[in-house]
Symmetry: C2
């Protein structure tokens, strides 16, 4: 009976998983101690196989026999990567890598490259904060909405009050994306453990006001993630933002004053951060615009967007402790950010500027998060 049970268990395990039961799993991609990364894919009868790594790599793989294509990359920086294969023009995921993430609607495999153990996006053996998926009522939008909250290590056990960082996603994102593509929990765990960042509460709301939650967590059912949201950048999110701040201050041990409140976001989230902070100059001492969608295309649509220049002058008279602008030189929003900075310069409004390479992409936004977070609440 014992032998019979075990035999059947193994058979079922094999059929369920397609892998050997007690054979150790193949780790894919293979990462050597010096950080070389080897990708392998089986594709019987294929003519061409390409490896595509987010916006950074697009290369042919070599046929190395036994129906296998392979390539080794040696110059990748420590970071999170997202990749997939194109087999004769068809997108195929890596069946040896169970780890995936999605970018808007596109699912890719993912890995974190951390050969020296110092990549802030990797999980390290440090005290870990808590991540909560919470639902709150938005009276302004008249619905329940979901957001993600990071609480610093020790929050649950202590009585201390903490500053709050509101961290906003871009168009096509939702409340989960800063934790997933952005590796926010790992970044905060690591920076706090190294003493580089103050312990803080981080609030990651959903900036698409027509949805309750990420598309598979909403009562709206079988709906796919999209860029095409109603009330997109029309002032509605900004007008409803105090529902979030009020709920957070009521339910968490926050330091609920401007001095201990930061707001930042990427792309659309930068646009939201710009207008929320300009319209509420008494509320946020730290503002971060990461590749912000500064085009003022919605001027006239909503009073939120009227007279930005006048509002900024008022905001800066109240001395924000940090007004931070980050942009990549290849970003399609580079010129708009330059124009925006010229306007700030003309008004003698002081900001901190960080110019990186590359464009409108997560490799930049993760870096900006690491840099910006170290400047907060000090």
């Amino acid at each position: 009976m014992k032998r019979y049970f075990f035999f059947l268990f193994v058979l079922t395990a094999l059929s369920l998983s397609g892998q050997g039961f007690f054979s150790p799993p193949v780790d894919s991609p293979e990462i050597s101690k010096d950080g070389a990364v080897t990708f392998k894919v089986k594709a019987a009868g294929a003519d061409t196989v390409r490896l595509i790594i987010d916006t950074r790599v697009d290369t042919l793989m070599k046929h190395t026999g036994n129906e296998t294509w392979s390539i080794t990359l040696r110059d990748l920086e420590p970071d999170l990567y997202m990749y997939y294969y194109m087999v004769d023009g068809m997108k195929v995921l890596d069946n040896e890598n169970a780890h995936t993430l999605r970018d808007v609607k596109s699912v890719m495999n993912t890995f974190v490259l951390d050969p020296k153990g110092d990549c802030p996006m990797a999980v390290h053996n440090v005290p870990h904060g808590e991540v909560r998926a919470v639902w709150y009522d938005s009276p302004t939008l008249n619905k329940q909405r979901r957001m993600m909250i990071y609480l610093p290590p020790g929050y649950e056990q202590g009585h201390q009050r903490y500053p709050v960082f509101y961290l906003l996603h871009g168009s096509g994102g939702d409340e989960t994306v800063w934790l997933e593509q952005g590796r926010a929990a790992q970044v905060f765990d690591n920076l706090i453990a190294e003493g580089k960042a103050e312990p803080m509460i981080v609030v990651m709301p959903n900036g698409n006001v027509d949805e309750q939650a990420a598309s598979n967590m909403s009562a709206e059912g079988n709906v796919q993630p999209t860029f095409a949201h109603k009330n997109w950048m029309d002032g509605t999110f900004e007008q409803s933002f105090n529902d979030i701040v009020t709920w957070v201050d009521k339910n968490y041990r926050t330091r609920d004053s401007k001095r201990y409140r930061a707001i930042a976001g990427l792309s659309m989230g930068g646009y939201h951060s710009l207008y929320i902070s300009a319209n509420q100059p008494a509320d946020f001492a730290y503002v971060g615009l990461f590749s912000a969608a500064i085009g003022r295309m919605d001027q006239g649509k909503c009073t939120i967007y009227d007279d930005l220049e006048g509002k900024l002058v008022t905001q800066f008279k109240q001395h924000p402790r940090l007004y931070w602008i980050g942009i990549g030189t290849d970003d399609f929003l580079y010129k708009d950010n330059t124009a925006f900075r010229q306007m700030l310069d003309q008004n003698r409004l002081r900001y901190t500027y960080h110019e990186s390479g590359a464009g409108h992409e997560w490799a930049n936004w993760r870096d900006y998060l690491v840099i910006f977070t170290q400047l907060l609440f000090k």
Copy 2:
């Protein structure tokens, strides 16, 4: 400038996502109001395309022109489904469906079928509980470990104490799997809202004692999920279990007595639940064995597994309020569960038995969770 910004934004959005910026997303699969489900896949030059839905469907798709294969299924029950395509023998995911889940190491697309709005696995417009990813110290295992906690709606705002349900995963799973494949948060939200279940705290630990956390959330780096764990079903998890109970009772408003404590699990988690409750008869009033791996193959390995029959007699003398056994008639563990029940019968130990169709699979475990949860703490 306005036009220029917008044009570039659209171009980048298109290139990032491969979808139209303002065109609504294609929902895949297409689900009609009467619950018919249509799958479509583009596969240029393919000879055969199959649709595989977990253990329930494996069927050829029809070539419907324009390089597209399609099939409509009309008899699927409301539930969560996981599927993929086989294109000329190569596994391919549905590029029109961004929602994926993994089963051990295998990534599949997923959807929830809820045509009448009454499927307990779907998100409904009811009060939602909170889901927390927390880290705790395990003194017995001498490491930090991660677990998931569900708190019922209103927990954060109130002062009430709640009963606790410890819900354990199977071999190849981890702390995330009951929330993902098991839809636990949705099941508890829905049952509590309908008054069918008591509000309760649900604790979902990681039963693989050699890992800190799910493979992509552990400091061990680029490691793939596996069945092949060290200290697998050798008593170590059971011996360390009180680290979890102690931490939970210390950090949450629990009702910290046997009357308000339940333990249940699937497969290996059923085995864990069996031995933890038998060795700690004063601790759990409710025990659930879902397709439990009852083989006693580890007898002799650890005192935890010695004299099960004698321990059960002692346990039942202390009157558990519910001892629940669920198994499918096609499960490879059916005979072992039958033998176990015969042993209980011979000792006149009273249990509740639920026999379903099908085998060792999530469709059963989600059903068992719905049934078992309604019997708790009443």
